[in-house]
């Protein structure tokens, strides 16, 4: 892992320079980062990204047989309003 020291107001660029991460504020144990990236680049907090990844990895283990049981559970006329 590359580790760099930056001061408030300083930044790093990633790749071709189209992604820039700057340090906006440091307050105790919290750091506020400013990120500029191409408009079609989603940016996420790492922990939520990781949770979704784990959730997806669990989801892909489903078998067709599981789904038959599940369809019965969903289609049990459980309409309620």
């Amino acid at each position: 892992m590359l580790i760099l020291t930056r001061k408030i107001g300083e930044a790093i660029t990633i790749g071709d320079g189209s992604i820039k991460v700057s340090v906006v504020e440091v307050k105790g144990r919290q750091v506020r980062l400013g990120i500029t990236a191409p408009a079609d680049t989603p940016i996420h907090r790492e922990e939520i990204f990781r949770k979704i990844k784990e959730s997806n990895e669990m989801a892909v283990s489903a078998s067709a047989a599981d789904l038959d049981k599940v369809t019965g559970l969903l289609g049990g006329g459980s309409d309620h309003d």
Partner: protein
């Protein structure tokens, strides 16, 4: 049977369904893949059964890779999608009515009654461009594991 060859079907190998034939017009492209699966970008939807709300989002590039997905409005009529500007741009959304929303279902092995849906990261498809993305709703309280069967 006549074969004009105008819309030739493509054959796709799948682990769960064997070989399936797909109309190329039905293929959706997820430029960034599903979260955790960035290398697979081509998918098709296969309905589980005619009477089932469940569909498979089947990878065309990895036979064993398929996600169970469902329309979230089936169990949550209030479900709201918040699409960030990055995602809108990525999907080239011009008409919100052309957007189709799915959520990924997780079925714990042997415990189908404990299945959950991930409302936090829906799969959004722009039907006009057939581009899609799994959108992580960053500032949302939507549950990652919403139980689908009332206990």
């Amino acid at each position: 049977m006549t074969d004009t060859g105008s819309t030739s079907l493509i054959k796709v190998e799948t682990t769960r369904f064997g070989q399936v034939e797909v109309d190329p017009g039905q293929v959706v492209t997820l430029p960034q893949g599903m979260v955790g699966f960035p290398l697979q970008t081509k998918y098709i939807f296969i309905q589980h059964r005619d009477d089932s709300p469940l569909h498979w989002l089947q990878s065309l590039e990895r036979p064993d890779l398929a996600f169970v997905v469902v329309n979230p409005l089936i169990f949550d009529q209030q479900y709201q999608l918040s699409l960030g500007s990055a995602e809108s741009k990525l999907l080239q959304v011009e008409d919100p009515n052309q957007v189709q929303v799915w959520v990924v279902v997780t079925i714990p092995p042997g415990h189908p009654e404990k299945m959950t849906a991930n409302l936090r990261a829906p799969v959004v498809i722009n039907l006009a461009t057939r581009l899609g993305a799994q959108v992580i709703m960053e500032n949302s309280e939507m549950p990652l594991r919403k139980p689908l069967v009332n206990q």
